[in-house]
């Protein structure tokens, strides 16, 4: 069985390096809809992929969180990106692969991927 001792070791290693990462006003928020509609259409692996890729790329200014029903259930899984000073970008019908692209091209590269957004769908 994996022990709590390992967690203690992690804690010691991190001593001092944590305080820097508090909520800045220039933080980008990535929000995934995780109500029944989102979960049923595959939001869990999308959120997992986003969180892992953001951690892996050490994007300190990006916070990945979840929310309830956004009200557009037929477009789930939905991912919203709030960048300070910019208009909200809403990605629809997301998959883990698309999520990875969003991390690489948008969150890391600064270029929203237009073809995955709500604006590019025909309502």
């Amino acid at each position: 069985m994996k022990s709590l001792e390992e967690l203690k070791a992690i804690r010691e290693k991190m001593q001092g390096s944590v305080a820097l990462r508090n909520e800045d006003s220039d933080q980008t928020r990535v929000v995934v809809g995780m109500a029944t509609c989102g979960i049923a259409s595959g939001a869990r692996p999308v959120l997992n992929t986003l969180a892992e890729a953001v951690a892996e790329k050490k994007l300190d200014k990006v916070a990945v969180t979840q929310t309830g029903c956004i009200g557009l259930c037929q477009y789930e899984p939905i991912v919203e990106v709030y960048e300070p000073g910019k208009e909200k970008v809403t990605y629809v019908k997301m998959t883990p692969d698309k999520a990875l692209e969003v991390v690489n091209r948008h969150l890391n590269g600064g270029q929203p991927i237009k073809e995955y957004t709500l604006n590019s769908t025909t309502l």
Binding site: K2, R11, A35, A40, R44
Partner: protein
């Protein structure tokens, strides 16, 4: 419909987060002799009135205002009852809510348990201040995850979302689940 029991659990357990629970207990108990898989979600959140409890399994009841259907609990109930199992919800306003679902393990209509590691990992890392005690048991083997123990070690300033900590929690869940499963799949 949800393709996995673990997704139903993630969905219904989030009601505990929304109910403002301080501590939620989640148990997943598999008994191969009795041929049952029992899921218990027990919280100390805001609870429900008698009328709300009666209405909660009705798909056209929800407290949400974005739309008029609420399918989380009805899906969970249907998934259990379609196996010949049972669904029960007990709640008291101001005290909390307990949901108990029993699935018949060998039923052809039982969906797979699915990725419990991801469900619990998400509940632990994304539920804000709520504490979670997760117990997973297969016959005589079991393990428990208690976020209060993690918090005691980490202190107030280290978040579960720190990459190293998040990875540790995933590994902790994965390794212990594998050990309890002992090669069996549910």
């Amino acid at each position: 419909m949800m393709p996995e029991i673990s997704l139903n659990i993630l969905d219904v357990a989030q009601n505990s987060v929304k109910a403002g629970a301080k501590l939620t207990r989640l148990e997943c108990l598999i008994d191969t002799k009795a041929d049952t898989l029992t899921v218990i979600i027990d919280d100390d959140g805001c609870g429900m009135t008698k009328e709300q409890v009666e209405a909660v399994t009705d798909p056209f009841f929800t407290t949400r205002t974005t739309r008029k259907v609420g399918l989380g609990v009805p899906f969970f109930k249907m998934a259990a009852e379609s196996t010949g199992g049972s669904f029960d919800i007990v709640s008291e306003k101001g005290k909390g809510t307990t949901v108990t679902c029993v699935f018949i393990l060998s039923s052809i209509d039982r969906m797979p348990l699915g990725d419990m590691v991801s469900t619990v990992h998400m509940l632990v890392t994304q539920s804000g201040d709520m504490d979670l005690v997760y117990r997973y048991k297969v016959d005589d083997a079991e393990f428990t995850l208690d976020t209060r123990e993690f918090k005691e070690i980490l202190g107030a300033d280290v978040s579960f979302n720190e990459p190293e900590v998040s990875q540790y929690i995933r590994d902790y869940l994965k390794e212990n689940t594998d050990e309890v499963n002992a090669g069996q799949e549910f």
